[in-house]
């Protein structure tokens, strides 16, 4: 018998599992995680970037959270729990050996440049991007790679230069290997991990430094597209920094997003170390309920019910399958549903009401997800919990545009943490 079964393994699901196992649950299981999800994650932990009616980024998080509506997940779990949850995350990863994160001045947002040259607020960030802080007034050199069109360095550099009061210079160099596939993001990272030799026998980290060095002028920091290794990223970056005598930082470039993939890998390492059972890759194929409770979920390797189908029985379940982007919320032409437990997902009638005319408009579909009560239990249309022993975390929760609010990471961490505590309270 499992105490807590977490369905889905994004940031929120992992936080729920970790919190549960650390706070006394004897048996915690993560079922049906999809490592693919982390290819979409930036690896930057946004807590609150924007609040309604203000165009400039939030500076102080705790100050601005007060402006959020009562049904915002932060207010449902309470400011104190949000703080605890973020601290828990910080304790995991700040100064982590494998994947150090920074929290800077933890209650103040940090600003970074994006792959299109915009300025973007975030709260916690991996050390690999930290030298790229825009709220640090030293000059910057961006170096793009000719073979990687994800970062048009000169455009991004010039756009950033328009936004910051110091020099931003930009150039592109050849990445010292011939890609065999496009986009070569993971291929480049693997080669750097293994420090493969280039055609002339130079190790690739050194060869990359040799490409970049002539481009450097007086800038004390150098930004490159985020391809600096997957497993050995700290070693790769540190070797480059030594070779270049400059700080090196990465710029997240969109899918596949290495900083996000690194976070995913590290989270699962931590889960394993804590004794959480992870059923990799086996999707949920069935759910049994009795009255107001979920009795068990069935998982199967190949996604169809066979003799190998395994039933996972747990006291409580955490729904962490993600939103529309991750497939936790699904839509057909008639309506919108939650994939695993078929929880109610409010949505406007008529598909024409799901979108707005502008590509980045305030689309209703962006807010698709389950409604939750104060204990994070998904609720039916009448506002009562669908199941007594089910809680939802992260992006499967709807009702708000967490993307534009730049709060997805903080919401996942806070709800994951809070859901685990709430589940354990129930049990005891």
């Amino acid at each position: 018998m499992t105490d807590v079964a977490v369905v889905g393994g994004g940031l929120g699901g992992c936080m729920a599992a970790l919190t549960a196992v650390r706070d006394g649950a004897e048996s915690v299981r993560v079922v049906a995680p999809s490592p693919e999800r982390y290819r979409h994650e930036t690896g930057l932990i946004d807590v609150l970037g924007y609040v309604p009616d203000r165009e400039t980024p939030v500076v102080r998080l705790s100050f601005e959270m007060r402006r959020l509506p009562d049904d915002h997940p932060y207010n449902l779990v309470g400011a104190k729990v949000v703080d605890e949850a973020l601290e828990t995350f910080d304790d995991l990863f700040v100064a982590d050996d494998g994947l150090p994160y920074e929290r800077g001045q933890s209650d103040r947002n940090a600003l970074f440049g994006t792959a299109t040259g915009s300025v973007r607020p975030t709260s916690r960030y991996p050390e690999s991007v930290s030298a790229g802080l825009l709220s640090d007034d030293r000059p910057v050199r961006l170096v793009g790679f000719e073979q990687l069109t994800h970062l048009g360095a000169t455009l991004v550099g010039d756009r950033l230069a328009e936004s910051v009061p110091y020099d931003v210079a930009a150039t592109s160099v050849d990445f010292p290997m011939t890609p065999s596939e496009y986009p070569p993001v993971v291929e480049f990272a693997r080669a750097l991990d293994r420090n493969e030799e280039t055609a002339d026998g130079t190790p690739i980290r050194e060869a990359l430094a040799n490409e970049i060095r002539p481009e450097l002028d007086v800038e004390p920091r150098v930004g490159v597209p985020a391809v600096l290794g997957l497993e050995e990223s700290e070693a790769v970056r540190s070797e480059l920094e030594t070779d270049l005598q400059a700080e090196v930082f990465e710029i997240p470039i969109g899918r596949p997003n290495l900083p996000g993939m690194r976070l995913g890998r590290r989270l699962f390492e931590v889960l394993e170390a804590e004794g959480v059972i992870v059923d990799e890759g086996a999707p949920v194929v069935g759910v049994e309920t009795a009255g107001e409770r979920i009795e068990n979920v069935s998982i199967a390797e190949d996604g169809t019910e066979t003799e190998d189908t395994e039933q996972v029985r747990a006291d409580t379940y955490v729904l962490a399958t993600g939103g529309l982007a991750a497939g936790g919320i699904e839509a057909d032409r008639e309506g919108v549903s939650e994939r695993v437990f078929d929880c109610h997902v409010p949505h406007p009638d008529g598909r024409e009401n799901w979108t707005e005319a502008e590509p980045l408009g305030d689309h209703p579909f962006v807010e698709f997800g389950v409604n939750v009560d104060g204990e994070l239990r998904p609720c039916g249309p009448d506002g009562t919990p669908e199941y007594d022993n089910l809680r939802a975390v992260g992006r499967v929760i709807g009702g708000r545009d967490f993307v534009a609010e730049q709060s997805t990471g903080g919401v996942a961490i806070s709800t994951g943490y809070a859901a685990a505590l709430s589940a354990l309270r129930d049990e005891s």
Partner: protein, 660 residues
């Protein structure tokens, strides 16, 4: 030596260009004007089917016309047609009577058709649904309407016609019961393209006198190859409504542009043929006439795979949502018929998309698996009261409005356009007592022998066909080696495997003036795959830089994404909606393109402009700062944010320590 009448043809669709070609071959002076680029009105927004006569077996006159035109077009325009064949399929429960009468009609008219039983049908098209009982194999085919239209235009050029695109009729004068001067306005810079003939096509001549060969897009007259400064600017046509001339407000810049450009021109033709299709009523309206036209709108859905080889049509009474057209690597689901008041009355609704998917997933269940990429709407027009939407009529304003000098063509179709053009040209010739016969059915269209001629004409008229580009990029075809991905040629759009070299080739046509990503898209098909630009649009934009400044780059990126979104909006469910959400997360989240852009002020600048530091969150809208960054409502003092102060700076390399 006799007098050669000068005919003005209005409308650059397949019909207008067909009429221009016919008249030119008969030896008349012809000028054709088109408001936009060729084939971008009704012609380019239909299903592109060359109909077989069998479909009209119940109306023998139309059937005979379609039969001969189907054969004629195959002879003269085979290079614009893909001979996919067609199947008219009947499901269990569909009216036997209707299918039988189809068979009888074909037999009576002696049309070559082949009846197939269920097994034989499935052998040809394994993806057809289980309900198919029988089918008729008919000589339907897929036409590339863009190439056909350009081939017509090139054919007209070869016989001395003048083709002027981006030229809009703004007035048709009527004097003493006769059509007088027609005033046109040349769009000074339609999509930011260079305005001079670049030598790719026929040499431009001195002012477009009727009868002279000319290919000019414009009437400027400066054909010496020099460009008027600023004339390449996009002006009010910039995507996102952004004016790209930075120093002048929109209206002032516009007025200045017009004065300088002298874009108005007058054409005194002997006769005017109004072939503006669904927009013919607007043209007639300029002369004060009404046209008896009926209109309907039709939706089409593009799906991300092609489950059929032939044009498959379910043969039954209700003809909405009954056709799947193989279109390169995509399939096109069509179509609907909703009466509308005119071309401006088209309303795009998800319900029509649903109807197409519902109906056609019965015919080809596999349309359900590949996801719907996009939808678009076209508008058709036909003479009021005609038996079918395929009918046509010549509306002589001399007869109906007592005004000599203009006829409007009502209706017509892709399949019958040549015959309609023949009728129109014959009618015009009769008016001038000219008795030359039509020769268009016997002269192959340009490019029949050497397709390069048509490729060049496509470039000359700046028309691109998404269908052709895909086939041109097949291995062994022209340009395929240079465009192939390799060490020095990275991929910019993964879905469609479009490389940097291709993007740059598409940009080069523009001679480095203002560029438009939508043009690059049409030329390369970049951003037209599964992600609909989500993963690549910003990367395409970056390729334009620094040829374009960053403002223009950003504006044209917004324009591309808006164009992509318009087509996506009505087909968003399932995987399509999932991808749309991923795109939103990338653009609004990771790249923060939704928020207002933020400008950071240095501590010194912030100190100058603000006083105390409590309420730091309230002081984002300050002003009065000095220095390189312009103050704006989006300025924030950099010092308020996390500066990484907790990190151990002592380990960092010190300034100036770098070794070389």
């Amino acid at each position: 030596m006799g007098y050669t009448p000068h005919i003005l043809v209005i409308g650059g669709g397949v019909l207008g260009t067909g009429i221009a070609r016919d008249l030119a071959i008969r030896g008349l002076d012809v000028t054709l004007v088109e408001r936009g680029t060729l084939a971008t009105g009704a012609t380019g927004r239909m299903q592109g089917i060359l109909y077989s006569a069998a479909r009209f077996a119940d109306s023998p006159d139309m059937a005979k016309l379609v039969h001969s035109e189907n054969e004629t077009l195959r002879e003269i325009a085979g290079h614009c047609i893909e001979d996919t064949g067609g199947l008219l399929v009947s499901h269990a429960g569909d009216s036997d009577e209707r299918f039988e009468s189809l068979l009888e009609g074909c037999a009576e008219l002696d049309f070559p058709v082949e009846e197939l039983d269920a097994e034989a049908v499935r052998e040809r098209e394994p993806e057809l649904g289980g309900d198919v009982e029988r089918a008729l194999a008919v000589p339907d085919a897929v036409v590339d309407p863009f190439r056909l239209t350009v081939a017509n235009a090139k054919g007209a050029l070869e016989y001395g016609a003048e083709i002027r695109s981006h030229t809009e009729i703004i007035d048709v004068a009527v004097e003493d019961g006769t059509i007088g001067t027609v005033t046109v306005r040349r769009d000074p810079s339609p999509t930011g393209k260079p305005e001079v003939d670049d030598g790719r096509g026929e040499p431009a001549t001195d002012g477009g006198r009727p009868g002279e060969t000319g290919t000019r897009d414009d009437q400027r007259g400066d054909t010496d190859g020099k460009e008027v400064p600023g004339s390449g600017r996009r002006g009010a046509h910039a995507p996102g409504g952004l004016d790209t001339s930075p120093s002048l407000p929109d209206d002032v810049a516009g007025r200045f542009e017009r004065m300088k450009d002298d874009s108005l021109d007058e054409i005194d033709a002997d006769y005017v043929v109004n072939a503006a299709g669904p927009w013919a009523g607007e043209v007639a309206g300029l002369a004060g006439f009404d046209l008896p036209l009926s209109f309907s709108q039709g939706a089409m859905v593009v799906v991300d795979d092609c489950p059929v080889d032939a044009v498959v049509t379910r043969w039954r009474e209700d003809d909405e949502g009954n056709t799947v057209v193989p279109y390169g690597t995509n399939a096109l689901l069509g179509t609907t018929h909703r009466d509308v008041a005119g071309p401006h009355d088209v309303t795009e609704e998800g319900a029509e998309v649903d109807l197409l998917v519902d109906e056609l997933s019965e015919v080809v269940p596999a349309v359900w698996d590949p996801h719907a990429l996009r939808s678009y709407w076209g508008v058709r027009s036909w003479p009021e009261g005609a038996d079918s939407e395929h009918g046509f009529a010549i509306y002589d304003h001399g007869e109906y409005d007592d005004c000599w000098g203009m006829s409007s063509v009502l209706g017509g179709s892709l399949t019958t356009h040549r015959a309609v053009a023949e009728a129109v040209a014959g009618d015009v010739c009769r008016k001038f007592g000219i008795s030359r016969t039509c020769r268009t059915a016997g002269i192959p269209l340009p490019g029949s022998e050497d397709e390069q001629i048509l490729d060049d004409a496509m470039a000359e008229f700046d028309v691109d066909s998404p269908l052709v580009r895909r086939t041109r990029r097949q291995p062994g075809q022209r340009g395929s080696e240079t465009f192939e991905a390799g060490p020095d040629n990275p991929v910019v759009c993964e879905c469609q495997a479009v490389t940097r070299a291709e993007i740059q080739d598409a940009m080069r046509d523009e001679s480095g003036t203002a560029l438009d990503l939508n043009d690059v898209r049409i030329r390369t098909s970049a951003s037209m795959g599964e992600c609909q630009g989500g993963l690549c649009a910003h990367r395409l934009a970056a390729e334009l830089y620094p040829t374009c400044d960053s403002e223009t780059t950003e504006a044209t990126l917004d324009g591309l994404l808006a164009e992509r979104w318009k087509g996506q909006r009505h087909t968003l469910w399932g995987e399509g909606l999932q991808i749309a959400m991923q795109n939103y997360a990338l653009h609004a989240g990771t790249m923060n393109r939704k928020s207002e852009s933020t400008v950071l002020l240095s501590s010194r600048e912030a100190d100058v402009s603000t006083g105390s530091d409590d309420q730091e969150n309230e002081k984002s809208g300050m002003s009065g700062k000095t220095g390189g960054v312009s103050p704006s409502a989006n300025s924030v003092p950099l010092g308020l944010f996390d500066d990484g102060g907790d990190r151990e700076r002592s380990e960092r390399p010190m300034w100036g320590e770098r070794q070389r």
